[in-house]
Symmetry: C2
Subunit: 465 residues, 2 copies
């Protein structure tokens, strides 16, 4: 229960309508998207201005209350909910009412907004001005720009447009001492000292609360060429990617292992993969016009013939309908997987040259331990990002087995120069793993910076560290 004194102070700041103190009503804010993490909060506050957030921080510093900044609450690592049984009281600072698009500048190709805008709203606002914002992740209707920045979101267009970090021109953040760091700029070239905005990008709300941002926009792609082809191994995929990139503006290059194809076909009998192979590649590139499309298709077929790809086993989507169908299949793989049962999931990345070797040695290691384990693989090859999920028979789904599988997977990831978290971040989920696998001096320096900026550890405690 919240102390009347705290409640009064917070209500005075944001108004009665913008606090949620009822235990029942708070629940949906206190549990994460996957249902794996939850913690109690004193209260949920929904400020409407930067100034209100500054005042809230001051109250929390005074009373030693921790603040959990929360956007769309779509973190896959428990990054946006309170920590269970934390030693300080926690409040949730939900940013969804800071949701104004402030400017779309078509000359400068930039968009300025408050941090609580959903990704979908930003995409739409850009689209209305004939511009394109390329971040593409499944949660776009719920996730918010502040969270996308705080977690350095990835998705399927990273191969061409980069991660969220690459899309941020400027931002405003409020420090744990209540002061505003103003890095709001639309400039593409600005070499005045350390690029401080980089500190806040990917810091998962532990260094500051992002309140505004300015993002890059791009010309709106007119058309796409999308294709699905079957191949025998990753090496061939790398060769195809290299050829495509030398000719086209490749914006997606997904690989889907037969394990994932089979599961999809089982649970979506009415749609099915139109072809099958050990690996399928789903690629897409942007094309500037119908004339360009014709010309580029010709170039594409030349590449295929040079690489001995059987065109009878390739699907090229020449209508937007066919394109939607291919992406629909890709996007429903996680759902098919869920229907198939619980899996130990890994969001990892590897140097592209190490992918094949990692998969071979790690599959062998997993099967040695659990001969009936199923390894379901798909990912974004262009970025070396693999979703690598291990499914066991129901009766083997124990904490111990899960820990053992994680150990086998992450050991091989580290051995092959990979990352234990490609795009989902650390949150509460990978705290220990991060500590154990990080370069020691980097870990120490990160902790020192956290200590410098948030000496009382009131901002999103229990995340990352």
């Amino acid at each position: 229960m919240i102390d009347d004194n705290v409640l009064t102070k917070l209500v005075l700041i944001v108004g009665n309508d913008h606090v949620i103190s009822n235990e029942e009503a708070k629940l949906s804010y206190e549990i994460d998207w996957r249902g794996n993490f939850s913690g109690r909060s004193l209260i949920v506050v929904k400020p409407q201005t930067t100034h209100q957030i500054q005042q809230i921080i001051k109250v929390c510093q005074e009373l030693s209350i921790a603040i959990i900044p929360q956007g769309g609450n779509t973190s896959l690592c428990g990054g946006g909910v309170p920590v269970n049984d934390y030693d300080k009281p926690q409040i949730i600072l939900n940013l969804s009412l800071l949701n104004k698009i402030l400017e779309v500048d078509t000359a400068n190709n930039s968009i300025t907004m408050e941090a609580g805008c959903t990704l979908a709203n930003v995409i739409t606002a850009a689209d209305q001005q004939e511009r394109y914002f390329p971040l593409s992740i499944a949660s776009e209707n719920n996730c918010q720009i502040g969270g996308n920045i705080a977690t350095n979101a990835g998705g399927i267009h990273v191969i061409k447009y980069g991660m969220m970090r690459d899309l941020v021109l400027g931002l405003e953040a409020i420090l744990p001492n209540g002061e505003i760091v103003n890095q709001l700029t639309t400039l593409r070239k600005n070499n005045t000292n350390f690029d401080l905005k980089q500190l806040f990008i990917g810091s998962e709300g532990t260094l500051g609360i992002i309140t505004k941002a300015i993002l890059k926009l791009y010309p709106k792609p007119e058309k796409y060429i999308t294709g699905l082809i079957g191949i025998a191994d990753i090496e061939q995929a790398v060769a195809i990617l290299s050829q495509l990139q030398s000719k086209f503006s490749v914006c997606a290059f997904e690989i889907i292992h037969s394990s994932a194809q089979n599961i999809y076909n089982t649970y979506f009998p009415d749609s099915q993969f139109p072809i099958s192979a050990k690996w399928l590649i789903l690629f897409e590139f942007e094309t500037a016009s119908t004339e360009a499309e014709e010309f580029e298709l010709e170039t594409l077929f030349n590449i295929f013939s040079r690489l001995n790809i059987n065109l009878n086993e390739a699907i090229i989507a020449d209508t937007s309908n066919k394109r939607d169908n291919l992406w629909h299949i890709r996007e429903n793989i996680p759902l098919a997987e869920k229907m198939h049962g619980y899996a130990v999931k890994h969001d990892i990345s590897l140097p592209i040259s190490q992918l094949e070797s990692f998969i071979q040695s790690n599959s062998a290691n997993i099967l040695k331990y659990h001969p009936h384990a199923q390894i379901i693989m798909f990912g974004h090859l262009g970025d070396g990002n693999l979703h690598y999920n291990v499914q066991l028979d129901n009766q083997l789904n124990t904490k111990t087995n899960e820990a053992k599988i994680n150990e086998i997977v992450y050991n091989d990831v580290i051995k092959h120069g990979g990352s234990i978290s490609a795009e989902h971040g650390i949150g509460q989920l990978k705290l220990e793993l991060y500590r154990m696998t990080s370069d020691p001096q980097s870990y120490l320096l990160a902790k020192q910076i956290k200590q410098l900026i948030d000496p009382n550890n009131i901002l999103n405690p229990g995340k990352i560290f």
Copy 2:
């Protein structure tokens, strides 16, 4: 003169052949590229390994000696030479012997090298493996990768490939306490905590000494389409840029004002601009093949006709010879300017939508103060980066006049949301200007981070702060 004790310790670390203690021989390391800044050093040391640098730092910490990290010594802001009359003794730590290319990974499109490699060597090493490293700045034969990273170098390809920051996958840096921060990774997706490498990029050697780096490579462009067209105003240039970007992979978009054209034509009478106009645009985009080139030229002419650009006043370079000529002219503008006499130079950037308004109001303000001032303008329009140089009659070239011109220019830059240093950094040159124009909380935070990492201020003191 160097104390025998210090000399002995440093010689023991790097060997007698890799120290320069002779006063005469040190001079060229102690004065900057433009000849504007110089300071005395105890000694110049040229370590060959990361470990030697760690040992040098320990000696310097022990004896309270400042370290000036130096790459190719091509800073345009005095960033790589000792500060004059500093209260601590200073040594120059020259990285030119850490110059090995360690790996070119064509599957992963990355290159790993020691920090003392010249930019030209990196470009060549990539080229030998049919890959492309896109950073393009005039000093490529002298400048080193460590310096390019420490200053976040820019150049003419930023519009497509970004600044040096966007090209760095990983790096290794040695902290002022002698410890190594290992952020060497080839991964394109890695969301494990703060992206600490960002701190060192653009920090001008004040936070750590960069010793190794891993950079992104790209497919080698096969051909270019390059053109020069005359236009009436910046607004028209922005419209053309927008059209070109929607159809092509634009990798350069330079604007050259008639002031710069006239000076070039005066001092290079044998070459001359082939056309003239209030503004000229020099643009370039990459094209994948001869067939693509034909098709794209047609698209280009359609754009020109839609935008009412007179093709008789446009030059399209259809041979690599003609292309070289156009770039030769562009690259010699600074030389022509130098021949014309001293100018007060400004490396500024502005939001593209503010460029025209800045130029109009600032030219008027300059002319009000100095009716005969000549303003020479050229720049990278795609990034809003303008080289804006003010030339006065010889007898007016006084410190007072220079200060007044700077004041007029930078006031208007700030008023229009621009940056006082687009690509050259702060160094010793813009220290005060940076302090005065920076967001106060950002300045404070930057200083706190410097203090945290380098509490004794032994790393490149007198730069930035």
